[in-house]
Amino acid sequence: MTQATLTQPTNPPTEQAAQAPSMTHKARAQLRWPIHLVLMFAALLVMLPAYFTVITSIKSEADYSANKIGLPAQIVLSNFDTAMRGGRFLIWFGNSLVLTTGAVVLSSVVAILAAFAFAWMRFPGRNALLIMITLLMVIPPVVIIVPIFLMLSQIDLISTYPGTILIYAGLVAPFAVYMLTNFFRTIPKELFEAGLIDGASLLDLLLRVLLPLSSPAILTMVIVNALYVWNDLLVALVLLPKDNLRTVMVGITVFGSRYNSDVPVAMAGMMLASVPMIVLYLLGQRYFIRGLVAGAIKE
């Protein structure tokens, strides 16, 4: 499941909730080594496929068939050339980048506006509406993909960026609204009142007061939603059937089966495809963790 979240009217996830290190809580000395052993074993299990991917991607095919798991006899970089042939990865990256950027920007704008109203304005049906929107988070996209496909075909938006961006933006919007509404509610009222006395308009308040204060929450939301769109297979597979519009995920799925007899090339392709997300994860780890557990954590 993606950003697995259910409704929970509580505070936004704080840095504290995600990773407050507690200094008082330490394992007794005789427990430490067994714990290290188990954790190392788990880490090993997690890293094995990564090791296999890296090692295989720099082997020749002959080397691979003789030696599945050892280090390469000779480092071969031509697999990357083969994988990149015709610039296909660049095209896929380009497509994924356009879709991810478009969907994240559109959903963020729409969600920020709505969350502002949900958090700070009074209107009939507000809570019911918010609950309904958060409920949408558990609807599996596969359930609605058939009518979406038919609908986009009818209005000639199938196999287009705008149509697909709209759908992705809609799929990630409920999470964005949910997260931002909770965050906006924690912002002290005094900051608003000061602004109001100065005669600022609502839009001024939103842009000048609320947004600057919310940048960590917005960054978290952007990362989670970008991850969702970038990693999605189903929607891209259905809505972008044309070869030249393939995303990275659709591309590598096809690529993986085409090169399933040339494993080193397939693994070189997988390395190329996974680098952006791994780099982003290592740089913004706390935002990933905070975002993906958002909504599930109760203070």
Binding site: T7, H36, L39, V110, I144, P147, P174, L202, I252
Partner: protein, 297 residues
């Protein structure tokens, strides 16, 4: 609360509502409608419950349901056990625990299609997994992991647990780190052993997050395993790893029968909501307790 004119909030919400109606409301209404029609292209005559009858009497549908149920029954307890166990060990905050956490969460960040392609190579008959098993003298464990019907679904289960436990670990750890240390210290003073404190002090406080994770994982196993299956086996060999999502997919996009696919969608949606009910009752109860101000007791 800000004072606004009555229509102002609606101006702020309107773009969101339009988007959600387009992406969710219209399609959700449509699947109910389509599921009762014999659809060709995008319209067709009303045929009542014929699509449902056809789906329910299809053997392949039965297989798909059985496979989802197998994943649910096997994976959910495994996921809870593994994630909870690892999270509790991480909670001890041994040296480099943050590094362990970074590594253990990594699979959850990686895209499923990438994992699928890598894993299907690892699990080939002459692939790395069997090579490693042979090297360690465990050749009795080697098998054709994905190529034979009797193994394929189990292999997919392994990959699912491998990846999804990353989420559970981080989720449980975040909850553990927010726990009240006083109870733990009091138990320590009373001379409770490590495992006693975990069992009698820590676990009871984890109840609601575990329940949450169980429900999320159940829904995942029913309705979010498409990418695993599609990128590893496409449902094969034969129908050995077909799941509900793939069954729907086949009817919608290979057999061009959206009516049948919509009937499956309705059944899937209904099941998802039934699974959600206990969570909402629970949440509602917690919310009321919180409002009464006795949530700390």
């Amino acid at each position: 609360m800000l004072k606004t004119r009555w229509f102002t909030p609606w101006l702020f919400i309107a773009p969101l509502l339009l988007l959600l109606i387009f992406v969710f409301a219209y399609p959700l209404v449509s699947i109910f409608d389509y599921s009762q029609r014999r659809i060709r292209v995008n319209e067709g005559p009303y045929i009542g419950t014929t699509n449902y009858q056809q789906v329910l009497s299809d053997d392949v549908f039965g297989q798909a349901v059985a496979h989802n149920v197998y994943l649910l029954v096997a994976a959910v307890p495994l996921l809870v056990f593994v994630s909870l166990f690892v999270a509790i060990l991480l909670y001890e905050q041994v040296r480099a625990w943050k590094l362990y956490r970074t590594i253990l969460f990594l699979p959850y960040v990686l895209a499923l299609p990438i994992i699928g392609v890598v894993m299907s190579n690892l699990f080939q008959l002459n692939g790395a997994i069997n090579t490693v098993l042979n090297a360690f003298g465990l050749s009795f464990l080697t098998r054709d992991w994905l190529g034979r019907s009797e193994n394929a679904l189990f292999t997919i289960l392994l990959v699912i647990v491998w990846r999804e436990s990353g989420f559970g670990i981080v989720l449980f750890l975040a909850r553990l780190l927010s726990l009240n240390e006083e109870l733990e210290d009091a138990a320590k003073v009373d001379g409770a052993r490590w495992w006693q404190r975990r069992w009698y002090v820590t676990l009871p406080q984890m109840r609601s997050i575990i329940e949450f994770y169980v429900v999320v994982s159940m829904i995942t196993m029913l309705a979010w395993v498409f990418a695993y299956v599609y990128s590893m086996t496409r449902g094969g060999p034969g129908n050995a790893t077909i799941v509900l999502e793939l069954y729907m997919w086949n009817f919608a996009f290979r057999n061009a029968l959206p009516g049948i696919a919509s009937a499956v969608a309705v059944l899937l949606l209904a099941t998802t909501f039934v699974l959600m009910i206990p969570v909402f009752i629970l949440r509602l109860r917690e919310q009321r307790a919180w409002e009464r101000g006795d949530n700390r007791s």
